[in-house]
């Protein structure tokens, strides 16, 4: 079993008392089962900033790290009969460069807009989902791609729809001992096009005030399929069934989207924007997205 377990002498690195770096998924699962209190580490772009933030006030995260970045076979984007499978270590940069069908354009656009190039080179899509921030840019496009999250754990493997995987602000359905091992993206409907629009207060390195994603199939001037999602306007990004229904069977007209279609959102006031603004901006962005995809 190729793994490194190092008990730390305390040099300049308090609070990180053990570090596990398995090379196979089996080892990773075994280690996690043995020490379910570990914090999983992939690209570290959420883990390390959170630790730095806590340290400012001498509050430290002492959980041992289970670094999955060395696990073989998790960094692939592969096409399957059912669609695509993105391994847990697939980064934003990989996604940005991948040749994927037009329905994935929103997801790839999100990949271009996450953080800066450094974060894109390291941050993983699954880390983004497991971190479960309401403002995670990966969530809305993946909701519109009807992504499933493949989980592996002591009880075997299961696949949860993304909406069932994300339970709340920083809460997921990961059970103790479970790892997210891949995303499954079903083959999108024929003719589907995807898009993503992000709104922030500066041009690079910005957490979204609000963002929207959509996948539309427009045939003969009529919307045949519509999937829309909004992020940063509720604890978990949401699909908007009312808005989707309003578009179906009619020409792709942004004006069909009405404020009441966004009733399910529950935005908050924070340093970035007011709740009322978010609610308003979500509708504006959705309309622009429909216009863009029409």
């Amino acid at each position: 079993m190729a793994l490194a377990i190092v008990s730390l002498q305390t040099i300049g690195c308090p609070g990180m008392d053990a570090y596990l770096r398995p090379r196979t998924l089996d080892d990773a699962l075994r280690l996690l089962a043995a020490a379910p209190g570990c914090q999983v580490l992939a690209g570290g772009t959420d883990v390390f900033p959170a630790r730095a933030g806590a340290e400012v006030w001498l509050r430290r995260d002492d959980r041992p790290l289970l670094d999955i970045s060395g696990v073989a076979g998790l960094a692939e984007i592969s096409e399957t009969a059912a669609g695509w499978r993105l391994g847990a270590l697939v980064t934003w940069a990989q996604l940005r460069r991948a040749a994927l069908p037009p329905a994935f354009a929103g997801l790839c656009e999100a990949a271009r807009q996450v953080g800066g190039a450094q974060v894109q080179n390291r941050g993983t899509l699954l880390g983004n989902l497991c971190n479960a921030s309401p403002a995670a840019d990966g969530t809305p496009p993946l909701l519109t791609l009807e992504a499933g999250v493949e989980l592996a754990g002591p009880a075997g493997t299961r696949v949860l729809p993304l909406a069932a995987f994300l339970l709340g602000n920083r809460r997921t359905a990961l059970a103790p001992g479970e790892l997210a091992v891949a995303l499954r993206l079903p083959r999108p409907p024929e003719g589907a096009h995807g898009g993503f629009l992000k709104l922030g207060a500066r041009s690079h390195l910005v957490i979204s005030i609000a963002m929207v994603a959509g996948v539309l199939v427009v045939e003969g001037g009529q919307v045949r399929a519509a999937r829309l999602a909004v992020g940063a306007c509720s604890a978990v990004a949401q699909r908007l069934p009312l808005a989707e229904a309003a578009l179906l069977g009619a020409p792709p007209d942004p004006a069909r989207l009405r404020p009441e279609h966004l009733a399910g959102l529950a935005p908050i006031d924070d340093a970035r924007a007011s709740a009322a603004y978010r609610q308003h901006a979500a509708l504006v962005l959705l309309r622009r997205l429909v216009e863009q995809l029409a």
């Binding site: 490194a4 190092v6 730390l8 002498q9 305390t10 040099i11 300049g12 690195c13 308090p14 990180m16 570090y19 770096r21 580490l41 690209g43 570290g44 772009t45 390390f48 900033p49 730095a52 933030g53 340290e55 400012v56 006030w57 001498l58 509050r59 430290r60 790290l65 670094d67 970045s69 060395g70 940069a93 271009r112 953080g115 800066g116 190039a117 450094q118 974060v119 080179n121 390291r122 709104l199 207060a201 500066r202 041009s203 690079h204 390195l205 910005v206 957490i207 005030i209 924070d270 340093a271 970035r272 924007a273 007011s274 009322a276 603004y277 308003h280 901006a281 504006v284 962005l285």
Partner: protein, 889 residues
């Protein structure tokens, strides 16, 4: 042992696998060229290449670098591409303070390796993860685009030439040492303990259970207080029992680093009693923060000018609010201190070594002469490193432990504890006559000065003098009050309160110009100060008033930009204009500087320059001035830079004073040494000097010396203190400027998209045009931040993820126009530029938003939701007016 390859060399590192790669490089391998600004991926200063891909070294655990290739700034020069990139940065002035440069360079390397001839958009995408607070990014973009293109040889550095920074190379190869880059090997580690509450009483109990020492108020050997003003030492090194803001220092852990870092918050023997905090408005009628100021008013600055206002036809008034703005230097506070017998040495980043010396001496109870301050390279300051931070803490710790002690603030700590730009609430009104001539201006400013005095009195003093702007106004009543609150101390930040005031003043002018039916630029031109005018402090401006030239230079751009405005669809274009003036140097008080040149018998020519270059370029500019006055090329000078043990007091690097004040001293020093040489050589005034191979020649004849020849120069700008009505001669000279901002507003989202800034600045004389442009572009970037995105909220935007400063994509193309209305008092006609650059930007942006939409933004930062609110109010107002006129007709 974990093995990795750094710049081609194999290393085995014995460190925990979770150690951040940035710490491995810096602490274990001694490669301090990689900088740390946040440890959170937000600043990009730590950018290195991992197997060719740019990553934030602070987010990479050592284990993940195992067996991989790491490239850092130290390895750049070894590759032709790296060397070419460094050369381009140097030639284009792309590094100012240089703290972001290693990250910028590495990010650019990733790009250039795959895309040798990138376009601007590609450069922005590749460098978007690195923040720069100094340059405004434009010269960085220029430099990356220039790699591989023909370059011109740099000039020799005569006055007026764009000599590349003398201190540039060390900032581009990672060798320059900043506050966190070096310390004695046996130094202990210090970690301040700060109040998490904006207002709290606390009791510190027995700390003997801690594995390290806990320093408290009782350990301060001298006065437990510091502060900018000699008679206001109100901020304690360690607060004795009462914390007045979130971030107030109450104690410090000192010991071996690992032991200090292992201490948890819950281990601390501190019990807190939270008290209700108050902001400035509430403080006006609330309980006193300090006994000394029962009404919480720290200072009131006033100006009364004119007996009665001339009759007016048009009047405008309004209220504005500005946010709490962080300096955002990318280098957090860092340094070390060491006790040497009964003396103290402090090394670290600072803007004001002599003031630091006073403070350290005070808290130790020593004479200033017993303290030596050795400034490190300073990774940005902008006013924020004028106050002491680590200095008194480290000095106390080193004094009581007898060991060297070092400290590096984390970003969160830096944000929580450091001073800020004063948030201001301003009410102002103004009138003009039918022809558009200003008749009166009234200003009432409430400046939230936070928990301690810091530079509050300076701000309250500067604002009333500047708040009517560079215009002829016959009747002015202005008052600015600095009010204490439980917010972070507001201190000195580029412009000392004037940028906030300029917003109100310029917004009123726009309204008056519209009412008077005048073009907004022409309105300003009509009212602009000119040579011979008397200001509202009663000072007659005898020379160097270049505002009219600035506005005239902008006029063609103004018309072109206005003609190009788009006004279709959901975006509306607008063009704004704003002016400013700025008194150079301290307000109505002495602020001398002394410079010295020494020619040793063996031919070494030393320039002793005590001015701290915080990135603005004084090291280069002062050398150009001294060399020119002496009559030798800059290359002949050996530089001895700011160290209170070696150089004379040049005063602090603030108030845009170094080029003007220290420049004039450098000019005098150069002239004095020249005189001494000519006297000794018995040569005429026009004799030609050369210095080669250690031999000085006068008109070709070698001059033999048996003792050093010296030239010393001092300058203290002539001023007269202001009286109770703000009358006097506050400054010896003023900088003037006017800027245009062209932008588009998204009417549905309230987002603002900048397209171009045109900046015309009267700098007296541009000693080094490239460095002047760098100051202007950097100041504009900070003005953009003030206008559109920056707002520090304690506990909420306490990191660079949530506290947004402009990134590379937020600064549009900038045209700089340098106007040179020579200042007779200044060195070769020069005056200052550091602060003036920032002042007009925010008002020009707000002016453009109003031009685009009609909406007056009354609260900055103009975040999208605030712009949208302003748009709604404007529409409601219009609808109401229409209704009313409908009823009337």
């Amino acid at each position: 042992m974990i093995a990795l390859r750094v710049n081609g060399t194999e290393h085995g590192v014995a460190a925990p696998p979770a150690t951040r790669l940035s710490a491995v490089l810096r602490d274990h391998l001694g490669l301090t060229g990689t900088k740390v600004g946040c440890d959170a991926g937000d600043c990009g200063a730590c950018t290195v290449l991992l197997d060719g891909a740019q990553v934030c070294a602070c987010l990479v655990p050592l284990a993940q670098a195992e067996g991989r290739a790491v490239a850092t700034v130290e390895g750049l020069a070894a590759s032709p591409l790296g060397a070419a990139l460094q050369a381009a940065f140097q030639a284009h002035g792309a590094a100012q303070c240089g703290i972001c440069s290693p990250g910028m360079l590495m990010a650019a390397m990733e790009l250039l390796a795959s895309t040798p001839r990138p376009d601007e958009a590609q450069v922005q995408a590749a460098l978007g993860g690195v923040l720069c607070r100094c340059t405004g990014y434009r010269k960085i973009i220029e430099a990356v685009l220039a790699v591989g293109r023909a370059s011109v040889a740099p000039p020799a550095g005569a006055v007026g030439e764009s000599l590349p920074r003398l201190d540039g190379p060390g900032r581009l190869d990672g060798t320059e040492l900043y506050g966190a880059d070096t310390a004695p090997a046996d130094a202990l580690w210090l970690r301040p303990i700060r109040s998490p509450y904006a207002h709290a009483r606390f009791v510190i109990g027995d700390a003997t259970h801690l594995p390290v020492r806990l320093l408290t108020a009782a350990d301060v050997p001298g006065r437990n207080g510091f502060g900018i003003y000699p008679d206001i030492k109100d901020q304690a090194v360690f607060a004795p029992g009462l914390a007045r803001y979130r971030g107030d220092c109450v104690a410090a852990l000192v010991g071996e680093r690992a032991a200090v870092e292992a201490v948890r918050w819950d281990d601390l023997p501190i019990t807190w009693e939270e008290l209700p905090p108050q902001g400035a408005a509430a403080a006006l009628s609330g309980p006193a923060l300090h006994e000394r100021w029962p009404d919480n008013v720290l200072t009131t600055g006033r100006l009364r000018s004119g007996e009665a206002a001339p009759p007016a036809t048009h009047t405008a008034s309004g209220e504005w609010q500005t946010g709490c703005v962080e300096h955002g230097y990318i280098e957090p506070e860092a340094g070390w201190a060491r006790r040497v017998g009964d003396q103290m040495e402090v090394f670290g980043c600072t803007q004001a070594p002599y003031m630091d010396r006073e403070e350290v001496a005070g808290v130790l109870g020593l004479a200033p002469a017993a303290v030596r301050i050795i400034p490190s390279a300073c990774g940005g300051g902008f006013g924020g490193k004028l106050d002491v931070s680590f200095q008194p803490l480290l000095a106390v710790a080193a004094w009581v432990t007898g060991r060297p002690v070092r400290a590096v603030w984390s970003r969160g700590e830096s944000l929580a504890s450091s001073t800020k730009r004063h948030p201001a609430s301003i009410q102002a009104s103004a009138s003009c006559d039918a022809a558009g001539r200003l008749t009166r201006f009234a200003f009432e400013g409430l400046y939230d000065t936070g928990a301690y005095a810091s530079w509050g009195p300076t701000v309250a003093g500067r604002v009333p003098v500047h708040c009517m702007g560079p215009y002829r106004v016959p009747f002015v009543r202005s008052r600015a009050r600095a009010v204490l609150s439980n917010n972070p101390p507001s201190g000195a930040f580029r412009g000392f309160g004037v940028p906030q005031a300029a917003i109100a003043q310029e917004m009123l002018w726009d309204q008056l110009a519209d009412q008077a039916g005048l073009d907004r630029l022409e309105f300003r031109l009509l009212n602009a100060l000119r040579v011979g005018d008397t200001t509202n402090t009663g000072q007659t401006l005898e020379a160097s008033v270049g505002l009219v030239e600035c506005l005239e230079a902008l006029r063609p751009h103004w018309h072109a930009l206005r003609a190009a405005r788009c006004s279709t669809g959901r975006r509306r274009g607008g063009v704004g204009v704003a002016c400013m003036w700025y008194g150079i140097g301290n307000t109505g008080m002495s602020n001398p500087s002394t410079m010295r040149l020494v020619l040793a018998p063996e031919g070494r020519l030393s320039f002793f320059n005590g001015a701290v270059d915080i990135g603005q370029g004084s090291t280069t500019v002062l050398a150009q001035i001294a060399a020119e006055a002496l009559g030798l090329p800059v290359a002949a000078l050996s530089l001895v830079l700011g160290d209170t043990g070696l150089t004379a007091d040049a005063g602090k690097t603030s108030a845009s004073r170094q080029t003007f004040v220290s420049g004039r001293a450098a000019q005098a020093a150069g002239a004095a040494l020249r005189d001494a040489i000519l006297l000794r050589a018995n040569a005429g005034a026009n004799a030609r000097l050369t210095l080669a191979d250690g031999v000085l020649r006068v008109d070709g004849v070698a001059l033999r010396l048996d003792a050093p020849l010296e030239g010393q120069g001092s300058f203290d700008p002539p001023t007269v203190a202001l009286d109770a009505d703000g009358q006097g001669l506050p400054y010896a000279t003023y900088g003037f400027a006017a800027q245009l901002a062209a932008l588009e507003v998204d009417l549905e989202l309230g987002t603002v998209h900048l397209q171009r800034i045109v900046a015309a600045h009267d700098v007296g004389r541009a000693i080094n045009p490239m460095l002047v442009e760098g100051q202007i572009q950097g100041g504009i970037a900070q003005g953009i931040g003030l206008a559109l995105m920056e707002e520090y909220l304690p506990g909420r935007t306490e990191n660079l993820h949530d506290y947004l400063m402009p990134s590379i994509g937020d600064v549009p193309a900038i045209d700089c126009i340098l106007v040179e209305a020579r200042e007779p008092l200044g060195p070769f006609g020069a005056k200052g530029i550091g602060e003036p650059a920032l002042v007009p930007t925010a008002p020009a942006i707000l002016s453009a938003i109003r031009d685009a939409t009609g909406a007056v933004v009354r609260r900055v930062p103009a975040l999208p939701h605030r712009v949208l609110e302003a748009l709604r109010e404007q529409r409601m107002g219009e609808a109401l007016r229409e209704q009313r006129s409908g009823v009337a007709s």
